[in-house]
């Protein structure tokens, strides 16, 4: 999954208006982010890729970029 695919998925599934720059921003600077967003994003990624993502470890991450790194490694 490319960064662009990932950003597209975030926009499409969560209806959050994100740019590629937002990947590295802390969640506090990203519009109304909460843990449900994270979990929905993960299920969307899993639907897309067919691979299970280890959610428990993602919860400590503070940016979408970090999530993307783990997701693309999964």
């Amino acid at each position: 999954m490319t960064k662009e695919d990932f950003i597209h998925l975030v926009r499409d599934e969560l209806d959050l208006p994100l740019g590629v720059d937002d990947l590295s921003a802390d969640f506090d600077h990203v519009v109304s982010w909460d843990s449900m967003h994270m979990l929905r994003l993960v299920t969307a990624v899993e639907r897309e890729t067919g691979t299970r993502v280890p959610v428990g470890r993602l919860l400590a991450d503070r940016s979408l970029g970090a999530i993307y790194e783990r997701v693309s490694a999964a």
Binding site: D12, E13, L14, D15, S35, M36, L39, T43, G56
Partner: protein, 642 residues
């Protein structure tokens, strides 16, 4: 535009979700709010349920005030939510599901796990006077969190009993302190609960206790018309998971997003039902909808609704349609065929479950289907917005959706085994309870065609009415009439002078109050009995010298036969005989009741004022209107109308 068949052009045609997103991007979504419902309808009928979920995420961010500023006529609803676990996930689907019905919803979400406070405290947001629906979302943890660890089956039995009693008393208290409808739900039994018990005996006892809890919840709704219970078991049985274990573990979301979406759909239909917007007519296509094959091409011997694999699936669908029809929903056919062959199939084709007598109208012709739906609405004297249309042809579904957006579309496809699921996916026909009139409705409408025949053979309207032999019976509403009167108050749109909708509780309260008068109107004629067709609500004031008619309503089946005039004549005679000096009445305009605007003046009422809320009238009882000569009136009221 160039050719429409080139793939390049087809790709540029926006999907309903893309159109919705474009409206948002252009900043015109609020002003274009009326276009939202048809876009969402297209997502659902096109099978794009995941797009509906995405649309919910978009719409939940839309500013309600900007919609109301641009479109003040938009219908609104206030929904307050409370629960034990994380239920925020229901907001987006609720927003989308209400928007499908054109309703702009405001979701008020309580704090996490605040349900006890929300329900106990009469000043909580759940009790706010403008709340229409209060959703108390129950989940498995509501029980599990109170069982302690380790637990035995007995702990579950006791917890379930205690919790049910608590829910019962909190729910009953809520309905006393609030005017909102309270919505509970049954709680599906998780495998992660049953299988923590390793012995089968305990597992069986736990299973019984859990079902008793759910049965008890359903019984609460039977005992109190203000309590509604959404049964989640059928949604789970259809393959929707109870939860997403990681969301349950990490975000305390005990009910999964898809289950909450299914729940939201039921709630939106419940809201629609409470507003009296129930659908009354199901129009079905024939070829490849009721039977396998095309009658015009294959002939009667080439179509099937039994014996073959596919044929049997169509027969099963016919039984489901008949089942809907047996509960008061009128059935009609709109088919592109010659009329005679379709009628012949309904008469004598051996495979048919549905017969000619099951249909209030059979429109088989070559006119466009939107024109046929309009024709059926006109012949049945029902609003086109009370129609559901089921067809396997994407073209016909698209045509009706474009031309008559108020019609609900059930888009069937080439797989007849899925017809029933598609027909029942939305609760278009949901109603609070059935009355005898509902069960007899199809027969009542059938006699309409015999009446129409008499009318055609009569020289004048007077001659027709004389020949009809109309009987009207006016009585005080008895206990057995309450359900039907409340139902009429919710269903009647055209002859409904003030459109004040009254539920069973309101009607019961009025019927038991000596200052109030609740009358039922029954009618019949030589073709049969019409049952309870109308009601009058009035109340006595100024020491019995004034009578205020709050509302009068009449089923659209029976207008313009003199029944309404006979009723008012008897009511005014009763008023005069009981010492009333002035009768007050009013008319409140709605989109549907324009035809009765001049009803009170036609009965000798004088206009007293015109306000934003409607017209007011009075009658001084000096000169009473007469009962129409062709009517045989039987009134149990005091005073004789002449």
């Amino acid at each position: 535009m160039t050719t429409v068949s080139s793939p390049a052009v087809r790709e540029t045609r926006k999907s309903p979700l893309e159109t919705l997103r474009a409206l948002r991007a252009d900043g015109t979504l609020a002003a274009d709010y009326p276009s939202v419902a048809p876009l969402l309808a297209a997502m659902v009928s096109g099978g794009a349920e995941s797009d509906l979920r995405r649309a919910g995420n978009l719409l939940v961010q839309l500013d309600r005030q900007s919609v109301l500023a641009a479109r003040p006529e938009t219908e609104t609803a206030v929904v307050a939510l409370t629960g034990h676990s994380t239920i925020g996930g229901v907001r987006a689907p609720l927003t989308a599901e209400f928007a499908r019905h054109g309703v702009l919803v405001e979701n008020r979400l309580g704090d996490f796990d605040s349900y006890l406070r929300d329900l106990r405290d009469p000043t909580s947001a759940l009790h706010a006077p403008d709340v229409d629906l209060a959703l108390w979302i129950l989940d498995p943890q509501t029980l599990v969190d109170e069982m302690g660890t380790p637990w035995r089956a007995d702990d579950l039995v006791r917890t379930a009993e205690r919790k049910l009693a608590q829910i019962g008393s909190l729910a009953t208290a809520f309905t006393r302190n609030s005017t909102a409808a309270l919505v509970l739900n049954t709680v599906p039994l998780p495998r992660s609960v049953t299988h923590q018990l390793i012995d089968h005996e305990s597992r069986a006892r736990a299973g019984i206790a859990w079902r008793d809890f759910n049965s008890g919840l359903l019984r609460l709704a039977l005992g109190n018309p203000r309590i509604h219970v959404v049964d989640l078991d059928p949604i789970v049985a259809a393959g929707v998971p109870l939860d997403e274990p990681r969301m349950a573990a990490y975000a305390k979301a005990s009910l999964g997003d898809d289950l909450l979406a299914g729940y939201a759909r039921e709630v939106a239909h419940l809201s629609r039902m409470l507003r009296g917007r129930t659908k009354k007519v199901l129009v079905v296509d024939a070829d490849n909808t009721l039977w396998d094959g095309i009658l015009g091409d294959d002939g009667p011997d080439g179509i099937a609704a039994a014996t073959t694999f596919r044929g049997e699936a169509f027969g099963t669908f016919q039984r489901a349609v008949q089942q809907i029809g047996s509960q008061g929903i009128l059935l009609a056919i709109s088919s592109k065929n010659d009329h005679e062959p379709v009628v012949q199939v309904l008469k004598d084709h051996p495979d048919m479950v549905l017969r000619e007598r099951d249909f209030a109208r059979v429109n088989a012709n070559w006119q466009p289907k939107d024109a046929n739906l309009r024709d059926i609405a006109e012949k049945l004297n029902l609003g086109i917005d009370s129609f559901v249309f089921a067809d396997d042809s994407p073209f016909e579904c698209g045509l009706v959706a474009d031309s008559l957006p108020q019609v609900a579309i059930v888009r069937l496809d080439e797989e007849p085994a899925l017809h029933i699921e598609k027909l029942l996916a939305d609760g278009w026909f949901d109603t609070a309870r059935l009355t005898d009139e509902d069960r007899a409705r199809a027969a009542l409408y059938r006699t309409e065609s015999e009446r129409a025949e008499l009318q055609e053979n009569s020289g004048s309207l007077e001659e027709y009415l004389q020949g009809l032999g109309v009987r009207v019976r006016l009585t005080w509403a008895a206990a057995g009439d309450i359900d039907r009167v409340a139902q009429l108050s919710l269903r009647a749109n055209q002859f409904n002078l003030t459109t004040v909708r009254l539920g069973v509780e309101d009607v019961t309260a009025r019927a038991g109050d000596p200052d109030h008068l609740v009358l039922t109107i029954r009618s019949g004629d030589r073709f049969g009995d019409n049952g309870v067709v109308g009601a009058v609500f009035a109340r006595s004031a100024a020491d019995g010298t004034e009578l205020h008619v709050d509302n009068m309503l009449l089923s659209c089946r029976v207008f313009a036969r003199g029944i309404e005039q006979a009723t008012v004549a008897a009511l005014l005679a009763h008023a005069r005989a009981t010492g009333v000096r002035t009768v007050h009445a009013s008319y409140r305009p709605t989109a549907k009741n324009r035809n009765v605007r001049d009803f009170w003046p036609s009965m000798g009422f004088a206009s007293t004022s015109t306000t934003d809320d409607g017209l007011r009238f009075r009658h001084d009882l000096a000169d009473l209107p007469a009962v129409p000569a062709h009517i045989l009136l039987d009134s149990s009221l005091e005073g004789t109308a002449s």
